[in-house]
């Protein structure tokens, strides 16, 4: 119990500080992709930029718009962070160890991912701002649509490994093949599908129509100032970091690695996935709302159904047992 509590505290601290680092990392990465330098003056190679941002956000005036629903408005940003962090509890850190070990970890992680939509909608509705509300509605529509391909993609490793336990999936990958994408036909497409659906679930570019600057000012966060905005901003990155961690657990073998299995492999794989996500983010342009839905329902969902069928067929051959 004490071990679990201290582990939970450690995970929260690690995820939050990793997120702060991720803020800096993303800005540097984006800068280099645009042949810029990125944060440079604040601390060595701009490393303290997130700290300065945080200190500034703390000092800003907090404005609650007239007509806003004060309670929901204040409650939504911390809830986004909490829901984004909650999914981190199920990530197996090293063999057999996670903050919460559950037989149905995959299901719970996806469940919490779906929950993250609720505070977003709360924020949008409580802001009493048409742009925020439009952004929130887009976020909800996107979340419920992309939940389907996300579940379908997650079903592939579940069916292959025969378990919904995240650690069990990693174990299976570790014992059968060290690289998690082995049956390459359902594996790799399922991984790509999972990545796309996860990008959409966490509202990242190219699926960030809920906060499209050109149409919706800043979407859901339009009315948020100071640290309230800081929370939403943080939650976005936490969501991405945790999503990358879960992706690497389910498809890339998590803590499994060639020399010594352990946390460092998980962190390395998470970093790679995170980099990939931001690489996509700083390359592609935003999809239009109708293109987004077309992509989801006309391409990704049928593809996901086919992949589930393929993985079941693979299981019937019995080659991986």
């Amino acid at each position: 119990m004490i071990f679990a509590a201290s582990l939970a505290a450690a995970v929260v601290i690690v995820v939050l500080s990793a997120t702060a680092l991720a803020l800096w990392y993303e800005r540097k990465l984006a800068a280099r992709m645009q042949t810029r330098i990125g944060p440079q003056f604040v601390g060595p190679i701009g490393l303290f930029q997130p700290v300065a941002d945080l200190l500034k956000l703390v000092q800003k005036e907090e404005i609650v718009p007239m007509g806003a629903d004060r309670v929901l408005f204040a409650l939504a940003p911390p809830l986004t962070v909490i829901f984004a962090l909650a999914a981190a509890a199920f990530v197996p850190l090293w063999p057999g160890v996670a903050v919460v070990r559950s037989d149905v970890g995959v299901l719970l992680v996806i469940g919490f991912g779906g929950l993250a939509m609720v505070p977003v909608w709360m924020a949008g509705w409580a802001s009493f701002n048409k742009y925020a509300l439009l952004g929130a509605m887009r976020a909800v529509a996107q979340s419920i649509s992309y939940g389907v391909p996300l579940v379908l993609a997650a079903m592939v490793p579940v069916i292959l490994a025969g378990t919904m336990d995240l650690d069990g999936i990693t174990q299976f990958q570790a014992t059968h093949h060290w690289f998690g994408l082995w049956p390459i036909i359902p594996g790799l497409p399922a991984f790509i599908l999972f990545l796309l659906a996860m990008l959409a679930e966490s509202n990242r570019i190219p699926f960030d129509i809920p906060e499209a600057e050109s149409e919706l000012v800043a979407g859901v966060t339009t009315e948020y100032t100071g640290m309230q905005f800081g929370f939403v901003y943080l939650a976005e990155y936490v969501h991405t970091v945790v999503g990358a961690a879960i992706g690497s657990v389910m498809f890339l073998g998590g803590w499994d690695g060639p020399f010594a299995p352990g946390l460092h492999w998980l962190l390395l794989k998470t970093l790679c996935l995170f980099t990939f996500i931001y690489w996509i983010r700083w390359t592609l342009v935003r999809l239009r709302a109708d293109q987004l839905m077309t992509l989801c329902w006309k391409w990704l969902v049928p593809a996901g159904l086919g992949l589930v069928f393929l993985s079941a067929a693979w299981n019937q051959t019995g080659w991986s047992r």
């Binding site: 149905v104 469940g111 779906g114 609720v118 509705w125 579940v151």
Partner: protein, 172 residues
């Protein structure tokens, strides 16, 4: 009657009351979400994480989203104040007490006959019973849901005969 159960039960109770008594539809939907989430806590305490996950995914994630859409897409229902009729209080009390009595009687009469939880094999046993023993009911339900979905699409479709063929977009 563990303390966890009491807390969860109180949460469910309070959230249900607030769901009914909220003056804003949006608040009612959010309280409903809280109620459903507390039910998921109950499932976790009963060592049924699968059901808790399903509860989160389907009810909080799905049903509540549908409600949100219902609220936001119907005309003006998101803004106005709701009034709960309190005049027929006596009638309501009688009906709810009768319902409560019925349910409580049913539950208490089954206490001895309820099957014991099979903890270690829970997910697998659910899967086996759904896809093995009860496959006919499961598949019938799927067909029913499919029919409902097709029906919803048909109802929602715009019926204007003069519209151009969807395949041929107009030049602009």
């Amino acid at each position: 009657m563990t303390p966890g159960f009491i807390i969860a039960a109180l949460l469910i109770f309070a959230a249900s009351i607030f769901t009914v008594r909220s003056s804003k539809l949006v608040h009612a939907v959010l309280w409903l979400g809280a109620m459903l989430a507390s039910t998921a806590v109950l499932f976790i305490q009963l060592d049924a994480p699968f059901l808790a996950g399903i509860q989160l995914l389907l009810y909080v994630g799905g049903v509540m989203t549908l409600m949100i859409f219902g609220v936001m897409l119907t005309k003006k229902s998101g803004d106005g104040e709701l009034r709960t009729e309190s005049a027929p209080a006596l009638r309501g009390l009688v009906i709810s007490l009768a319902l409560f009595g019925l349910l409580a009687g049913g539950i208490f009469s089954m206490t001895n006959g309820a099957p014991a939880l099979q903890k270690p094999e829970e997910v697998a046993s659910i899967a086996a019973s759904v896809l093995g023993e009860h496959w006919l009911a499961f598949e019938t339900l799927s067909v029913l849901l499919l029919a409902a979905m097709v029906g919803a699409i048909l109802l929602a479709r715009k019926r204007d005969a003069g519209a151009p063929e969807s395949g041929k977009a107009s030049p602009r």
